[in-house]
Amino acid sequence: MSDAVWVLGTSMTRFGRYPELDAVDLASRACMDALADGGVTIHDMDVMGAGTLFQSQTGMGQRVQKQIGQTGIPVYNVTNACATGATAIRTVYLSIKAGEAQMGLAFGVEQMGKMGLLRGGAKAEEKVFEAAGRYGAVTGVDGILGTETMPGVFAQAGMEYACDYDGVGFEQFARVAYKNHQHSTLNPLAQYRKEFSMEEIMGSPVQSYPNTLLMCCPTGDGAAAVVLVSEERLRSMPAEVQKRAVKISASVLTSDPWVESGQVQPDVNTLTRNAAAQAYETAGIGPEDLDLVELHDCFATAELIHYDNLGLCEPGGAGEFIDSGGPFRDGRTPVNVSGGLISKGHPIGATGVANVYEVTTHLRGEAGDRQIEGAKVGLTHVIGLGSACGIHILEKAA
C-alpha cells in the first residue's frame, strides 16, 4: 500500500452573486455537500484547511466549524492570493502525508460583495505631498509609473509572449475567451453561461489591452470543498466508495524565484514551469497524458501563456495551439471545459478547490453534458500574484 492521498468527496456551489448569503453560508454549504458526497461526516475529519482571501483575518475555518461542527480539530486558515484554494488543499494533504491525519476537509470561499474588476489607479492629488513609506513616495504610483494591477500585469505578460513569438496576437487571446464562454454553456455551476462571437469579444470595452471586458474573469461569490483521505483509510472503506475516489498523484506549490525584471513585472512563467515540472515528475506522466486541464485563466492572455508554461503546446506555439483547436473540448488537450475563471467565475479563495472539484467530477464520469469521455488523468493550476503557483495532478481509480 502506498502513502497516497485521495479525494474522497467534493462539491462546489454555483459561482455567481449571492447578496443574501455570506462566506460562512457558502462555505458551509460546500463543506456539508462534500462530506455527504464522500459518505462521511465532520466527525471523521482530523484536520481542516480553510482558504479565503479578503476575510483572511476573521478565522473563517472556525466560523464554518460553528455551522458544521466544532470537533476541536486543527484548523489552518490560509491565504496565498489566487492560489489560496490550492494552499488550503496542501495543508490537509501534508497533514495526511505526515501521518497526523487520516482524513481532512479543505475548502475555499470568497464573498466579494460589490467589488468590480480589481484595478487600481492612483491620482496624485494629496493635500500635502510628504515622502513616506518604503520608497519615500509622495503618492501612490499605480497608473503613473505603469501598473501593478492584475489586468495590467497579465496583459503585459501576454504582450511579452506576443513580442517573443510569431502567430500570437489579439485574435489568439480573444479565441481563448471565445472557447471558455462556449464551454460554460454546458456547465450549470458557471457564473455566466453565454456564448459570444469573436467580434463581440474583440469589440467589448478594452480593460487593459489586449484584454477586453469579455476576456477578464468576473468577481463573484462561491465556495468549493474537498474531503481528502489516506490510502490506508480508503482501503478499509466499501468497494463502491473506493471506486469513486480520485488519487492525488502530485500536489505542488511554488513561489517565483528572483529575476532582475521581477522587480517591475511579476514573472508568472517560471514558477508555473517549475511547479509543472515537479508535478509531472512526481506523478510520472507528461503533458501529453493529460485528458483535461483546469488552469488559471484570470485573463485570456494568462491562459494562452500557460499553454506554453504547462507544456501543452510546443515552446512558442501557443498561438498555433489555440488556432488549431487544441484546447477546445474536442481538441487534443481540453482546457477549462468548466468555462474557466473567465466564464465560470473566480471567487478568489474558492477557485483553487473548484478546479479540483471539476477534474474529479470528470474522472468519476459524473460531469454530465460537459463530460470529457474516458477522462483518466487531469491537472489543475492556480497562480496568485506575489507570487504563488499551485498544481495538482489527479488520476482516476484503476
Binding site: V128, L145, T147
Partner: protein, 59 residues
C-alpha cells in the same frame, strides 16, 4: 483616462516599469519601439508643490 503601462528595457539591460507618455492615441504604442526617458508633473498639492514622475516618450 487610458494610459500606456510599459516594461522598458534600457540599453544597459535594466527593466523599468513606467508609462509611455506623449502619445495622442494609446494604441499607437508598439512593442519594441525606441523610447527616451522624460519627466512630467503628475499632480500639485495644496501648497502648490508639484509631484514629478518619470516616464518614457517616443524617441
Amino acid at each position: 483616462m487610458p494610459y500606456v503601462s510599459a516594461i522598458v528595457l534600457t540599453d544597459d539591460g535594466t527593466s523599468v516599469r513606467a508609462n509611455v507618455v506623449g502619445l495622442d492615441d494609446p494604441m499607437k504604442a508598439e512593442l519594441g519601439m525606441r523610447l527616451r526617458f522624460t519627466t512630467f508633473t503628475c499632480g500639485t498639492d495644496d501648497n502648490g508643490t508639484d509631484c514629478v514622475a518619470f516616464g518614457y516618450a517616443a524617441a
